[in-house]
C-alpha cells in the first residue's frame, strides 16, 4: 500500500489523496469494515453493552450521572451508530471492486471520504485493541490471534498517512505554527 498526493487535475476534481491498494490488503480492510458494521448494528438494539469494544466505540457521555448518561444514550445512540456504520461502509464500498477484480488499484479519496476512512480505521483499531488487551498506555497487547498486531500497526500507519494528506489540503488548519 502507498498513500500519495494527487495530481493538480485530480485536486481540481476534489481528490485529496490516493490510496494504492493490493487485493490482499483490500480483503483485510473489507473484512474488518464488515465486522465493524455488524458489531455496530448489533449495538443499536442491545440494552446493555456487554462487549468492552462496543463500550469504547460508544462510550457514555457522562461519567458520574447515570441518568444523564442514559438520556444521552437514548437520544444520540442510533444516529451515532448509523454514522459510524456509514464510515465503515465508505471503506468497504470503495474497496469491494479491488477484492472482486483481484487487481491492485489506485483509490481516490475526496475530503469527505478521507475523513470517513480515518474514522473507520480508528474504530477498527479500537476494536482490535480491545481484542488484544490494550486497555491502558503501555499495554503490549499479547492477546488475540497472531498477526493481529501487524494489522493494528498497519492501520495506524494508514490512518496517519491519510491524516497527513488531509493536513496538506485543509485550508487554515495547522499551517502557521
Amino acid at each position: 500500500m502507498k498513500i500519495t498526493v494527487p495530481t493538480a487535475d485530480a485536486v481540481a476534481a476534489g481528490v485529496v489523496g490516493i490510496v494504492h491498494v493490493e487485493p490482499q490488503e483490500a480483503r483485510v480492510l473489507v473484512s474488518l469494515a464488515d465486522q465493524l458494521q455488524a458489531l455496530l448494528a448489533e449495538a443499536i438494539e442491545s440494552p446493555i453493552d456487554d462487549d468492552a469494544a462496543v463500550r469504547r466505540l460508544l462510550p457514555d457521555a457522562y461519567r458520574h450521572d447515570p441518568e444523564l448518561a442514559d438520556e444521552w444514550r437514548r437520544l444520540s445512540r442510533r444516529g451515532l451508530v448509523d454514522r459510524k456504520i456509514g464510515f465503515a461502509r465508505t471503506l468497504s464500498t470503495a474497496l469491494a471492486p479491488v477484492v472482486s477484480d483481484g487487481i491492485a488499484r489506485a483509490v481516490p479519496l475526496t475530503m469527505d471520504t478521507a475523513i470517513d476512512w480515518v474514522r473507520g480505521i480508528g474504530d477498527m483499531r479500537l476494536v482490535i485493541a480491545d481484542r488484544m488487551g490494550i486497555i491502558v498506555d503501555g499495554d503490549t497487547g499479547t492477546l488475540g490471534e497472531p498477526g493481529l498486531r501487524d494489522v493494528y500497526d498497519w492501520l495506524a500507519w494508514m490512518q496517519d498517512g491519510i491524516v497527513q494528506v488531509l493536513e496538506v489540503t485543509e485550508p487554515g488548519d495547522g499551517g502557521a505554527a
Partner: protein
C-alpha cells in the same frame, strides 16, 4: 450564550437557569489513538491552531485528560457526539465552580 438582562430583571433575584450553569467537554487519554490523529481532530473540530492543538493533545497524553470547551450542556453534548464519531473518549462534565 447569554444575553444582557433587561432593567426589570435586574430588580429581582435571578435564580441561575439550568442552561446557564457552564458545562465542559473533557477528552480522556486512551492507549489507541495516535497523537497526530488527536491533534488533527482538535484542529479540525475545535478550530484550535497547531500550537494549541498540540498542547491540548499533550495534556491528554500526560495528565490523562484535557478540557476542550465550555458552554451550555446541549452544546457540550454535541461536542461529545462529535468526539465519539472520531473515536475519541470524551465526556460532559459540570465546570468546576
Amino acid at each position: 450564550m447569554k444575553t444582557a438582562p433587561t432593567l426589570d430583571e435586574q430588580l429581582v433575584e435571578q435564580p441561575v437557569h439550568a442552561a446557564e450553569v457552564p458545562w465542559t467537554i473533557v477528552v480522556w487519554n486512551d492507549p489507541v489513538n495516535l497523537m497526530t490523529y488527536v491533534s488533527w481532530v482538535f484542529r479540525r473540530h475545535f478550530g484550535a491552531d497547531a500550537r494549541a492543538a498540540e498542547r491540548l493533545m499533550m495534556q491528554v497524553h500526560t495528565e490523562g485528560r484535557a478540557t476542550l470547551a465550555q458552554g451550555n450542556r446541549e452544546h457540550m453534548e454535541r461536542h461529545a457526539e462529535a468526539m465519539h464519531e472520531y473515536g475519541l473518549w470524551a465526556t460532559v462534565e459540570k465546570a468546576p465552580q
